[in-house]
Amino acid sequence: MSTTTPRRRRNREPGYWIPSALQTAVLWGMALLFIVPLAWFFLSSFKPAGELFRYPLTMFPENWSVAGYETAWSRYDFALYFRNTAVVAIVTTVLTVIVSAMTGFAFAKYKNRWLKVFFICILATTMLPTEVIMPSTFIVIRDLGLYNQLAGVIVPSIITATGIFMFRQYYRSVPDELLEAARIDGASEMRIFWSMMLPLAKPIAFTLAIFSFHWRWNDFIWPLLVLNNPNLYTLQVALRSIVGAENIDWSVLLSASVISIIPMGFVFILFQKYILNADLNSGLKG
């Protein structure tokens, strides 16, 4: 061994350091391309309106200013949009987690012909996003009396194939004996689920909750179609109305956009480990 080690190190040098430097350079080149748009957008939001379009452009604001933020906050009712978005995102997320857990549990732990068929139906929904059939989905939502109500955005987005998969995969790894033991003790199926199976799947529930919150916070098309009353607008719809104007007020738009990202920023900082290490493969592959 002692004779081979130096040889291997010598061999490794030209073959190791060059690709290593190259790889690091490529990686950081890409990272730079990824962060520049975000940085430019973020820094621009702190420029006073007069500086936004003044040549030569500078990366950093000459005079830092929060005027754009003040105008955005006072001209639009952001507190309201935040509240609407938060209600939609939080309520939907709670319902999504519970419903996905129950359904995933049923798919994993009961054997039935109709369950198998239904499972395939749920799988198929990934292939057929509702945006594709939005005219008729809209009619259904309207005829259920959910038009112009936050519930009209919440109820249709509760079931997600991804969430159901994640729980199904997880519960398949839970031994049947655990279930049998609880049954012998006389616990009802519902009780077994609520007091044993749901707490057991906490990590999955957590991961799905983060993802669901993210999907719903950033949702655009359904709030756009269902919420016609400006008092019910979510952040994304409100932003769209600013960017869709004839003359875009960039100072306000940039600040408003930054404001809308803040909650997701907190979620990321708090749950970074969960998000970046989520093993999505097991959840998504079914």
Binding site: S20, M30, L115, T125, T126, M127, V132, M190, F268
Partner: protein, 300 residues
């Protein structure tokens, strides 16, 4: 259920019938309400002149005949396919490359880079559209400014349809990469290091190792990424809404925006449903083709 103790047997037989139903009944109701009904209604409306109010009169294939003569429909369809064909392979390559670099032990500073690559995930499609619109503004954007520094005349990123679409492609890759990258990173970490060690002892180069070991083992993940990003590209809407509104004019309307504008701005639910049915069929065909490819992989 065969392991049940005798005293519980009757109950044990009954429970598995009712319990799964009680666990899935909510999902079933929602599935019927928001997938089966819209799907069925959509197909029905496609053969009617329904306008959202009043009666839906059966008009047979009229909508489809009209659709196939509609220049705007063809334009939206071709634009959507063009966008998908460009953005899916590019997005695949970029996310695989970044995941590979991030998981390679030879790369330095991977931890920080991973966070940077992930940041666009936080940004909604609407805000992503705002960010790229700001960057590619014709008279005020950073890109044209930087080009002017090296003597290039302002590029018409907004008023030229193809350039405008290419900005959408870049923004789409930027915004959609994080998720695919996560999928690839997780899969790459699951490949045993011993495979690579064995290959280097046999003298395989890094490139050979990538093509012969990494890529084949990533096949299931690749399938997932391509399928999800294809569906995502085919229904792209919010990003374009904020980036250029489908402009210049209506030249960059993709299918979902076409359906939105005919169905909601012009209230032609029947006609828009016909376009929906076409898009639905298209997605089914694409999913079918990809499933076939994946089947081949499974039995290898």
């Amino acid at each position: 259920m065969s392991t049940h103790v005798e005293g519980r047997k009757r109950r044990g037989n009954r429970i598995p019938q009712l319990a799964p139903l009680s666990f899935t009944v909510i999902t079933m109701v929602l599935f019927v309400l928001f997938f089966v009904m819209p799907g069925g209604l959509g197909i029905y409306y496609a053969f009617t002149d329904y306008r959202g109010v009043g009666d839906a009169d059966w008009i047979g294939l009229e909508n489809f005949v009209e659709l196939f003569q509609d220049k705007d429909f063809y334009s939206a369809l071709i634009r959507t396919l063009t966008y998908t064909v460009i953005v899916v392979p590019l997005g695949y390559a970029v996310s695989l490359l970044s995941a590979w670099l991030l998981t390679s032990p030879r790369t330095k500073g991977a931890g920080a880079a991973r966070v940077i690559f992930f940041l666009p995930w936080l940004v909604s499609p609407i805000v992503a559209g705002v960010i790229w619109r700001w960057l590619f503004g014709e008279s005020f954007g950073l890109v044209n400014y930087l080009l002017s520094l090296i003597g290039v005349a302002p590029v018409s990123w907004q008023s030229d349809a193809n350039l405008s679409l290419s900005v959408v492609v870049v923004a789409g890759i930027w915004g959609g990469m994080a998720f695919s990258m996560l999928l690839f990173s997780a899969a790459l970490k699951n490949i045993p290091q011993s495979y690579y060690e064995a290959a280097s002892i046999d003298g395989a180069s890094t490139a050979q190792q990538f093509w012969k070991i990494t890529l084949p083992l990533l096949r299931p993940t690749s399938f997932m990424v391509i399928l999800l990003s294809t569906i995502g590209a085919m229904k792209e809407f919010a990003l374009i809404q904020a980036l250029n509104g489908g402009g210049p004019g209506t030249q960059n309307y993709l299918m979902v925006q076409y359906i939105y504008s005919t169905g909601f701005e012009r209230a032609q639910i029947g006609y828009a449903s016909a376009a929906s049915v076409i898009l639905m069929l298209l997605l089914l065909v694409i999913a079918g083709i990809q499933m076939r490819f994946d089947k081949g992989a499974e039995y290898e």
